[in-house]
Symmetry: C2
Subunit: 201 residues, 2 copies
DNA sequence: GATGATTGTTTACACTGTAAATTTATGTTG
DNA sequence: CAACATAAATTTACAGTGTAAACAATCATC
């Protein structure tokens, strides 16, 4: 145990801890993971994490922030290649869905969990606003391109609501067994697109 | 303490317990409520509830079942008066929203919580299917009236998804502060209705 | 090399759900 | 009616939780 930790060391350990925590959270849900087993996974004593994070809530906040960052990165990547606004919008939606289905626990940590102390973690706060922005940029683009008219933020939230709704019902196993989630999403998307009058007519 | 409990007595205590549990759950969330304080709220010792329910999970199941029942009753009431299918559908949607906003915790208990042992409680199971049916009846009516074409269950799930999405984002405080939930719901509803081509054109 | 600060560990505590032992109060029986 | 049997409720006890506080171990600096 070296006497002094460079801030890189601290950062490194924090990252290591976040990775381990994320893996455990993804397995059995955040609530079910114990500080003691998290510590064991890192090969340190149960109290060591407390040197790097105030408490379990702070760890949760860090893991959430990381998830938001990955999410934003995934969406930005999906919109990176040049394409027309409608394509870009569809691509963003697909990336959103892909992320939620690939990392359901991360998705729920981000968008389902209600962390009352959320405001105490500026890093998390920043990650959230970045993710939110990523979700509305393409709507603005569509409006600017004249494909759509109205309040960009409101319309963005509409797409968000609809995606979030199906995904949450699917992820929590609430859909009727007879329902094919993919079909349901397709119907939703096409209906909303038609309702907005995008792409012609 | 009478020596033998009639099944009415048992039922009565169970109901009393469920009411108390619901109140506590609504205040601070189900997870945060302690068996000890639930017992205290009932004026009994901490272990007494275990005579009437196997464990805390069973209490949660009972509370959820009660919530589903109230929910179904509310929706059925909203659809009771004779009206044309479109009105009925709108009325059901409004009742859905009203319930979710009036009892957000109950709503989350019903539709957000993932209770892995859900299948072990037939009463809960029954309450769930009743609620689900209530949510699709009016879509079937619309299809029969020729206002709509397609798979009733799928379309019903579409409405459900969209309602659930906005409501969850609102209830978990994820909407941007600039967004008016009522406006958002109105936009969603009108867009989907137009997209489905209901009511003319 | 002694000192002091900083890292990590050990111990300890209040709290959780609940199993097991124990008490209490009643209905049944001699 | 007294004695018992038994269901109902309570008390006690335990393993496990997050984490505060005491402690031990390491190294930079004089």
């Amino acid at each position: 145990m070296p006497r002094v930790l460079s801030s890189e060391d601290v950062e490194a350990f924090r990252r290591r801890l976040c990775v381990a925590a994320e893996a455990l959270f993804a397995e059995r849900g955040a609530e079910a993971v114990t500080m003691r087993e998290l510590a064991q996974a890192l090969g340190v004593s149960p109290m060591t994490p407390y040197r790097y994070f105030k408490d379990k809530d702070a760890i949760l906040a860090a893991v959430r922030a990381a998830a938001f960052a990955r999410f934003a990165t995934a969406l930005e990547a999906a919109m990176a290649r040049p394409m027309d606004p409608l394509q870009r919008s569809r691509s963003a939606g697909e990336a959103y869905i892909a992320f939620a289905l690939a990392e359901p626990q991360a998705y729920r940590l981000m968008f389902d969990l209600n962390q009352p102390t959320e405001g105490d973690y500026p890093e998390l706060q920043a990650a959230i606003v970045r993710a939110r922005r990523t979700m509305t940029v393409h709507v603005e683009a569509m409006i600017e391109a004249g494909l759509l008219a109205g309040d960009a933020e409101l319309i963005g939230h509409m797409f968000w609501s609809m995606l979030h709704g199906v995904l949450m019902l699917q992820l929590t196993g609430k859909l009727a067994p007879t329902i094919d989630p993919t079909k349901l999403r397709a119907l939703l998307f096409s209906t909303v697109v038609r309702g907005l009058g995008i792409g012609g007519r």
